[in-house]
């Protein structure tokens, strides 16, 4: 096979070939995205959500972890127009793991954190909500260091 692509694309393909930026085999299976509608109304509130998916066998600490030394999951967001309400975190669960004497307060599976974007009346143009989701993931054997997923969404502001 001979590559007939741009040099940048060839570099990407090259590194993907030996796994340079491929999804980490064995690393935490944690994904997140910012869900926002394509348009928001000026003078109204719109719910923006962080959708976090934690793969089978993995867990992350709750936003309010059961021990003070555990690193919480936290969404930090800002809006380029208007204001955001404090994030409302999903309901966590108490789960017992083999490596812990006590149950831990964690998130597993798919969870959703919400915030309300309040765009002032008279606003126009676009609004961008961005930030990151920080977490620390473990499986039933080991724990990975804290990590962050960048989040960003842009919506058009419409008049009511």
């Amino acid at each position: 096979m001979i590559f007939r692509t741009s040099s940048a694309s060839r570099a990407v393909i090259l590194l993907l070939a030996f796994g340079g930026v491929a999804p980490a085999a064995g690393g935490p299976d944690v994904r997140a995205k910012l869900a926002a509608p394509p348009a928001v109304a000026a003078g109204a509130k719109t719910t923006i959500a962080v959708e976090m998916t934690i793969g089978p066998g993995w867990h992350v600490n709750s936003h309010t972890p059961s021990e003070p030394y555990l690193i919480p999951t936290a969404a930090t967001l800002t809006a380029s127009a208007g204001s955001l309400s404090p994030v409302r975190y999903a309901k966590d669960e108490d789960r017992k793991f083999a490596f812990s004497d006590k149950p831990l307060r964690v998130y597993t599976g798919t969870v959703r954190f919400e915030t309300d974007l309040d765009v002032p009346a008279g606003a126009s143009g676009d609004v961008t909500v961005e930030g990151n989701l920080s977490y620390q993931a473990c499986n039933d054997q080991q724990c990975f260091p804290p990590a962050k997923i960048p989040l960003k969404a842009t919506a058009k502001i419409t008049s009511r």
């Binding site: 060839r10 590194l15 064995g26 690393g27 961005e130 054997q141």
Partner: protein, 259 residues
């Protein structure tokens, strides 16, 4: 021609020339690309070496005094990477403390190595889980990379010459059993058989996909906004491609690179 590319790729290698080397190889055929990339990354140190010597590490005790694994030569050393936020580490520490007590007279030494910068968190952990074995920290922040540690706890067994001879991932009874079996094997004068290690999953060693834990470096290299220039450029390229493919103008926001 392929052989010539492999040889010239290797001869040209320095870390600064990796980018141009990739460009040259990208103009060749796919099987050569993979082989040459593997050679390049091995020579660049990105692929973990199979026999890491710990003697080059310059560690410190928590009081700041120098601590050298070299000084422990002549002993078998159990080197345990841990962190204050790691619950399996908390479970494993009492076992390691007991291990030290049982085997100290036979020339076994346990060292707990933390890569954390938060001294208060480290001290709080040790107040809650007191142990008698040596605790060290790594001022350089490079020990994780040197040992290809990506998760905690990860424990290494070093022979009397300071050479890493086994790796154990996780802090459960199975990892402990294998660790102790390996210690007994070495104490009896035998060498470790293949399979003496304890690996909990493929890919938990540092590879190009998962980077080793080092100071200031977040766990997921794909999400790390402070990565090296090549990684940043590639991430932007892939992110832009995904956004373009999604056709939603970016409303889906930052993906994870995990799909």
């Amino acid at each position: 021609m392929a052989r010539g590319l492999l040889i010239s790729g290797a001869e040209e290698l320095t870390k600064k020339k990796i980018g141009s080397a990739f460009e040259a190889l990208a103009r060749s055929r796919a099987p050569v690309i993979f082989s040459a990339a593997l050679i390049l990354s091995t020579l660049a140190g990105a692929v973990p070496a199979s026999d890491t010597s710990a003697s080059a590490l310059r560690l410190q005790r928590l009081d700041g005094a120098a601590f050298s694994l070299d000084a422990l030569r002549g002993n078998l050393v159990v080197l345990d990477f841990w962190a204050s936020w790691c619950v399996p580490c908390r479970t494993s520490f009492p076992y390691l403390d007991d291990l030290q007590a049982r085997y100290a007279a036979k020339g076994v030494r346990v060292v707990g190595l933390t890569l954390e910068e938060d001294g208060e968190a480290v001290n709080a952990f040790l107040d809650q889980v007191p142990v008698a074995f040596a605790i060290a920290r790594d001022p350089s922040g490079r020990a994780g990379e040197a040992f290809d540690v990506v998760a905690m706890p990860t424990t290494f067994l070093l022979d009397r010459d300071g050479k890493v001879v086994a790796r154990f991932e996780g802090g459960d009874a199975r990892a402990h059993a294998k660790l102790e079996a390996a210690i007994e094997t070495l104490l009896s004068g035998k060498t470790l058989a293949p399979g003496s290690d304890r690996r909990v999953g493929a890919g938990l060693e540092a590879t190009g996909a998962v980077k080793a834990w080092q100071r200031g470096y977040l766990a997921d290299p794909f999400m790390n906004l402070d990565g090296d220039p090549i990684t940043r450029q590639l991430r932007e390229h892939i992110h832009a491609s995904k956004e373009g493919a999604a056709g939603d103008g970016g409303a889906a926001g930052g993906g994870c690179g995990c799909n």
